[in-house]
């Protein structure tokens, strides 16, 4: 059931969605967005490839292991928490600061971002893992 229209559109749209999801991830602290939303969005983009083409294409485009992705995400999130402990603060204490970078201007860096990246990775990994296993398993 390959549709030519879907096929052509997906090729373009997937890039936009993925880019937008990363945008969502980084601006989530101050505007709508965040790791969870961005993660789902990225997963949806990849699911779009899956629906348009097949699992093989997905695997070729994204040769990563989803369980490893989940593990990495948990590592980021828990690691952010442990970072605080190492510096003598309670587990999961977050902090932030503002930096001035030439050309770009004032930006804010928060440890919450690294936590959010963890959330992002787990959400993408788990969603894709479930969908791809069910897709594969039901054949």
């Amino acid at each position: 059931m390959i549709s030519l229209i879907l096929n052509r559109i997906a090729r373009v749209v997937v890039h936009i969605i993925l880019l937008f999801s990363i945008f969502m991830l980084f601006k989530g602290h101050n505007e709508p967005g965040g790791g969870f939303i961005a993660g789902l969005m990225a997963a949806v983009a990849i699911v779009l490839i899956y629906i348009t083409y097949d699992l093989k294409t997905v695997k070729k485009l994204m040769p990563v292991s989803y369980p490893a992705m989940i593990a990495l995400g948990l590592f980021f999130a828990a690691g952010t928490g442990l970072g605080g402990v190492m510096l003598g603060y309670p587990f999961l204490t977050q902090t932030f600061d503002y930096f001035h970078i030439p050309l770009i201007g004032e930006i804010e860096l928060a440890t919450a971002l690294s936590f959010d990246i963890g959330v992002f990775l787990v959400v993408v990994g788990a969603t894709l893992l479930i969908i791809s296993t069910l897709g594969e398993g039901s054949k």
């Binding site: 939303i37 369980p67 928490g81 402990v85």
Partner: protein, 776 residues
Amino acid sequence: MVAVLWVVFIPFLFALLTPLVQRIAGDRIGIWGIISSLLTFGGVLSLANYAFGDEPLYVFYEWAPTLGLSFGFYVDGLSWLFAFLISGIGVLINIYAYWYLHKPDPFGRFFAYLLFFMGSMLGLVLSSNLIILIIFWELTTISSFLLIGFWHHTERARYGAVKSILVTSVGGLAMIGGTVLLTVIAGTSEIPELIAKAGMIQEHALFFPILLLILLGAFSKSAQSPFHIWLPDAMEAPTPVSAFLHSSTMVKAGVFLIARIHPVFSGREEWTLLVATVGLITMVLAAYYALRKVDLKAILAYSTVSQLGLMIMALGFADVLGAKATAFHIMNHAAFKGMLFLVVGIIDHETGTRDITKLRGLRFTMPKTAVLAFIGAFASAGIPLFNGFVSKELIFEAAYDQIGIAPWMSVFPVFAVIGSALTFAYSMKIFFSVFFGEESKVLPKHPHDPPLGMLFSPGLLAAITVIVGIMPFVAENLVNAATSAITQTTTDFYLTLWHGFTPALWMSVVTVAIGLLLYSRKALLQVMHSKPPFGLTVNAMYDWWYPNIMVGAEKLIGVFQSRKLRFYFMYILGMIVVLCGWVLIRDDHFRFIPHDLWMAETYEYIVAVAFILATIGVAVFRSRLARVISLGVVGYLLCAIFIILRAPDLALTQLLVDVVTVILFVLVIYFLPQLKTEKERFSVNIRDLLVSVITGGFVTVFVLAAYSHRYTTTIAEYFLENSYKLAGGTNVVNVILVDFRAFDTLGEIIVLAIAGLGVYALVRLGIRRKQKEDSV
């Protein structure tokens, strides 16, 4: 300070990295274990000044301060002594295991488990907090389960592993209860603070229950009667594991705990009554069982149980001498028993059997091993010039001193002698029956001395055994440091080989005399064929209990895990109604201000009507696909409502979740066989309808009540006010997720991860099973 973290986390880190390193190192992965244990040992050595100096090291990290939890380490004489033994013997075991394992064994897994265990054990002895101690305690239980069941293809190994984890977990659960009670009455779980509050704790009405519960944990871990049953079965583990876990480290965790809480609890009569008596009974019984056994490892297992009993008895005496004797015997026992296990490992490795009825005359073929066995057996028997003698003398002395406290306490010296005489007899049995006599012709393999690598570790332990036996004063500083830590007083003892003609010496003489009598052939045969008084019934009880508890658990779980989604939903919805309803009634929140409820825009009405129609569609449509699409419509309309209410984050999340769910549904349904819809009975339909109506009605009431309360202060204001100030983010929803409630989020993503991996594992397993069936 960093050194403590180093000591505890290096083994864990190395264990985690083992699978990666194995890809490069292959079968030589043992070297990785050796490196790791050497690094840890070095870390422990660098902490020595805290044990021997005046001030112990106390590092403290906040963990979850709102829950009163902290993460801390405490290094004093006692914890250092244990850390020294664990890491030191850990090095020797790693070296020995490098030569011991055979080709088909998964080397990487073995060393990863071993390091995992070592880290847990070090964390256990170095923790400053009882709660953290329990976490490490349970980690040692898990890692020892994995190690005992290492050869999981044999049934005995699986049986032993399950038994050990069940018996020690029962004690562990009791210990958690005791610790919680203790934390509640003392207001802290930090060990140094508990020691400071010892007076208050001893006066408290809950003193005895707390003591009993915590001791249950210690007794089960240290295999004290009647929990001793797991240790002999744990001997199914590879011998390096037995030598490490079941002689010198894990089983001593109970002894450690008793020593650690000694300053908090000792002084009351209950302490001596519980601790010393249980130790005494265990010591005598286990020594008797040891004499009856013919499997070398079983003898050593019971011997370990018996020696642990001896140590625990001495700790129960609640005086400085008892503590000192225990501290010294812990070291000595670790050395000679660890060595004996390694020697038995060599014998097993080289001859193919551990049965002493088959082993004879090995002194000709394995002379070096014979020397080691000689040293180990004589130290265990408590013969002068070996380390076991000196500490056993001390325990005798402490036991003899008890007569002065109460007349009934004379049972301690009497039974200490009887137990030691039995110990003497089985120690002699180990050495003489294996290495003397004519050479055996029925051995599976042709015996010879092992390679140097396997002799190194027991050799070093043998050297320590002899050196400490002849010159006990070399251990003086360490024993004094540990004793001071146990009793919280500064002690300054001297250790000497010769004490003069003290009562303790005469007790030793009597011990040897009775021991020789017992060892005479006729007595030995009688013991070996006598009926045991009641010890076996504990095992029988376990064997009866285990299958029954499994069946019972399955039935119990079956009650609420019906494996039908509909029931799970019913539980969840039911709980929502009951709990939220209870809160509403309790706080009298059934107040409604309905006057502005109907003031909505036209498009809101349109959305609401569409919402209702779509929901009805989910219930009435026949085709699955139509239902899923209908459900999707509900989701998108919900999303529209979020937009109307200006909640972009929620709307976005809802939209995406909905997309993913619809895709998942379609995926599942697309591949599902087209089954006929089951005709449900009328009563079932009515029940489901009732549940839906009640839930729906309740939620409506709940929302209306909440809406009527919107003028009161809510937590939302706090978040709105502090989101930018405290967390530097203007998106409150996201700040709550990643900062204010980050712990919840962490929990949620862990659940998500487990769900993902669960689906993966289940489906994969199903496919593999299907493939297997197809191929068959």
